[in-house]
Amino acid sequence: MTTIQDELRETARTLLAEGQVDCVLGWAWEEELQRAVPCFVRAAEDAKRLIWDERCVVSLAPFLLHMKRQLSSVRTEPSRTAIVVKGCDARGVVRILRDQQLERDEVLIIGVVCQGVGDPDNRPAKCRECQYHVPPVYDLLLGEEPKETQTPSSPLLERVREIEGWDVADRASYWREHFSRCLRCYACRQVCPACNCVECIFDSERTRWTYKRTTAEENMIFHAIRAFHVAGRCVECGECERACPMGIPLMEINKKVASDIKELFSVPDAGVDLREEPPLVRYETGDLDHFV
């Protein structure tokens, strides 16, 4: 029986051999680290290094951004990269394309049907409430589309509702405790497909909005600004929370903002449609302007 992994290797080999893409971005197993790492395959014969299974937890979408940033300083010829995506990762690719960080024809999206990654007995939270076993956007799809999917309940949303029910002082002390542990390592930012500023305000010397001290207050400003910056654009891939070395439940914030935006503007999930118009960056002549 051919597995998705076999199909993937063959697809990658063909794409590279025929010159359809310059690079296939997928996962490879790193024996030393004992984990799946991003793998940039540029030669057809290396396609066999690619893997696809439950170990492929990390989203590759942000690497498109990093590639572009590196390439833009040396690249002269137009190039095309194939990227392997799970459903959640595909939404990150949509984010990057929709934010015009790459042209659509610079990316070939290889979608894989995914039934969840990580330890089968202890799946990441996002897998337990996954609605996108099939990537919402792809050029090639590997694997069988499941016949019936049911929308699972969202424990994360329930958690958000629970926190909303607390009184202000409890919420403040809850977040104060979490943010006081933040190291400002910015891992959450680095893995975020929506964080695509050329220069982050937290790296800027000119800003007076915030300082670099790692006090609970400053950290709170950092996380608040980040939440608002990605509001309406966050694709809920959960990479920020996964990358956080201090275990800060960042998705509780992102989920709160995302659910508020869905309620306020009646929009679909972010990152499921290449034509999407994030509600906070849209203008229509019909917008209410009686306050002007």
Partner: protein
């Protein structure tokens, strides 16, 4: 070292009555960056401005805070003041101590504390002000006038007479508008047609006026001096270059359609002109009713046309006009009395509107000027006029006064005497408002000469009894209920904004009020300007107006247009958005939210490691940008900044609080 001057204005007692200006000055002097502070009775006066000039020179000030009224009032004044002594005009901030402090507070101590805070904010902001500069753009010397009623006609003629080309755009077949529907006009009783028609002819014949009838504005882009107006010219189905206007086609057309011009009391043909004196006096085919277009049969008009002008194959045409200024003169609608169920809600044929009455008494109207009941054609013996139908009635209509109904009702009462001199006239009113020149005298004549009986009170109910209509009302002056049998009821329906007024305002980016009338830039000092530079208002689209006021406003708008055209180049707004190209990520969220279409993309080249590498970033067209700041709010990277409202300035204010 930055040296700020603070000038606190008393505004007579407007500010000083509530705010302790001396205390504000004392507090300002304690702010480290403030090199000089003083108060004046009227800072905007010549004396006050001279004080500023002198202080700038004596104390070597490099930026100024004026704590006075709203910046909308005098920001421009004080910019000129500081510019005259060599400062960049944008090194100025206004602390609004009047509208935002003294006028809205009564507690002197608290108001003074707030005034001090406002001054501290302005000082903190002005410290981050940077010199801003304008550039110039050439002016397209053509005006577009939208709407061919008396307002549009007057504006177009005035502009054309000044020597500038005008495109006058009218939605219906002919220009003339509401005024063409009227019989006579108050307070002189001169014939509406006799004074309007010559102007219509002038418009049609004027070499500087390009008349586009049967056309609608679809899109307005651009900015003062350089607008682009997209117009859809609907297919007339008649080649007007061949048509001689003989009227044979209209005569022979077998299709009857209710005539818009006759306010529903008469009919027109499917190939028609709005009225016999229409300009242009060449017909159009109403494709929604023409038999040829409905089922492909008929074609009579083509057979009878000697000039071979009928062209069923014409299509709508899109025309783009480049113009330097726009006059909006889109007029008004009449309140629909169907909302008054107690007056029959449109069920009784002999309850008509004031405009329908105008058509009844018009010599060219459906009854050739005889007052006849729509139901049976009988001349009414008793006529009741009911005023304030829709106006001043929040329950059914609008809270405002429509301004014209008192006078047109008085006029109609006088015309009853001319047309049916034995008829008895009752007029039901709440108040009589006759505040124009010669209006009160006219109203008195309606009572004395025309013998109209004015009854103070609202009519509660109208219902038919046999051939008559019965009115129940209260005469509030004698406090008695009364019942009256009449033959005809005329409702003085009020003026409301055009259907679609809001959508049209949004196309142009001009603002409108809660009643959908277009807003003037300042209610007293800029009554014909809109919030968009280069777009002006004329007539009832801005609010209820009679003919003299409409004509006056139209001429005023024309002068405003001419003053733009008197320059070869216009200065652009200096307070526009700028892009920090170093940090722009090229996501173009700014372009999606820009209401003016001012944002473009450009390719940035950099020489990196011996290679020419490119990056796409946003760029702002400073001539188009209105400085609204939407882009700055949408930009995730903070690359967008609006001159005069930069992040540094705003943050300065926040820190000062």
């Amino acid at each position: 070292m930055k040296r700020v001057g603070v000038f606190v204005c008393h505004c007579g007692s407007n500010i000083a009555g509530t705010v302790d200006c001396a205390a504000v000055v004392a507090a300002a002097r304690r702010i480290p960056a403030v090199a000089y502070a003083e108060d004046n009775k009227y800072t905007c006066s010549e004396v006050g401005q001279e004080q500023i000039r002198k202080a700038v020179q004596t104390h070597n000030l490099d930026r100024v805070v004026v704590a006075a009224c709203s910046p909308r009032m005098h920001e421009a004044t004080f910019r000129k003041t500081i510019a005259s002594v060599g400062l960049n005009p944008y090194m100025l901030e206004i602390a609004n101590l009047r509208e935002q402090c003294s006028w809205v507070h009564s507690d002197r101590q608290a108001a003074t504390a707030k005034a001090i805070d406002l001054v501290r904010l302005a000082v903190a902001k002005v410290l981050y002000n940077k010199p801003l500069f304008t550039s110039t753009l050439p002016v397209k010397k053509r005006a577009v006038v939208i709407g061919g009623g008396i307002a549009g006609i007057q504006a177009a003629l005035d502009i054309a007479e000044a020597g500038h080309p005008v495109t006058l755009i009218e939605r219906s077949q002919s220009i003339g508008g509401r005024m063409a529907q009227l019989d006579k006009t108050f307070p002189t009783l001169d014939c509406s047609s006799c004074i309007l028609m010559p102007r219509m002819v002038d418009v049609g014949a004027h070499p500087m006026i390009d008349l586009m009838t049967y056309s609608e504005v679809e899109e307005v882009d651009g900015f003062i001096g350089n607008f682009r107006v997209k117009v859809r010219q609907r297919a007339k189905s008649v080649d007007h270059s061949k048509c001689t206007g003989c009227g044979e086609c209209t005569e022979k057309c077998p299709t009857q359609v209710p005539a818009e011009f006759e306010a529903g009391l008469g009919e027109r043909k499917a190939i028609y002109t709005d009225f016999p004196q229409a300009v242009p006096n060449k017909p159009v085919i109403d494709r929604d009713h023409c038999r040829y277009f409905l089922d492909g049969k008929c074609g009579i008009c083509r057979k009878v046309c000697q000039a071979d002008a009928i062209d069923y194959t014409q299509t709508d045409r899109q025309v783009e006009i480049e113009a330097g200024a726009i006059v909006v003169a889109t007029g008004f609608d009449l309140f629909d009395p169907a909302k008054y169920g107690e007056y029959g809600g449109g069920r009784y044929p002999d309850v008509i509107t004031g405009l329908q009455f105008e058509r009844l008494i018009s010599a060219s109207g459906p009854t050739n000027g005889e007052i006849r009941r729509p139901s049976d054609g009988r001349v009414p013996e008793t006529i009741a006029f009911i005023k304030c139908v829709g106006s001043r009635d929040e329950a059914h209509g609008v809270p405002y006064c429509s301004r014209v109904c008192c006078m047109y009702t008085a006029k109609q009462a006088m015309l009853v005497k001319e047309h049916a001199k034995d008829s008895k006239v009752y007029i039901f009113y709440i108040d009589v408002r006759a505040a124009g020149k010669g209006y009160e005298e006219f109203y008195q004549r309606a009572q004395t000469d025309a013998g109209a009986t004015y009854v103070r009170g609202r009519v509660a109910k109208i219902f038919p009894r046999g051939e008559k209509l019965v009115l129940w009302a209260e005469d509030t002056l004698i406090g008695k209920q009364l019942e009256l049998e009449v033959d005809l009821v005329v409702l003085a329906t009020g003026i409301v904004a055009r259907e679609g007024a809001v959508e049209f305002a949004q196309k142009m980016g001009i603002s409108y009020d809660g009643h959908r009338f277009y807003s003037e830039a300042h209610p007293k000092l800029r009554p014909v300007d809109t919030n968009v530079d280069g777009i002006f208002l004329a007539g009832a689209c801005q609010g209820p107006k009679d003919i003299p006021d409409t004509v006056a406003q139209a001429s005023a708008a024309a002068v405003k247009v001419c003053s733009i055209f008197s320059k070869e180049e216009l200065e652009t707004n200096a307070m526009v958005a700028t892009v920090d190209e170093n940090i722009c990520a090229g996501c173009f969220h700014c372009r999606a939210v820009c209401p003016s279409g001012a944002i473009d993309s450009k390719i940035l080249h950099a020489w990196v490691a011996g290679q020419d590498v490119t990056r796409r970033v946003a760029t702002v067209n400073s001539g188009v940008c209105q400085g609204c700041g939407s882009c700055a709010a949408a930009c995730p990277s903070g690359a967008m900044n609006v001159g005069g409202f930069s992040n540094e300035q705003i943050l300065g204010e926040v820190e000062a609080l």
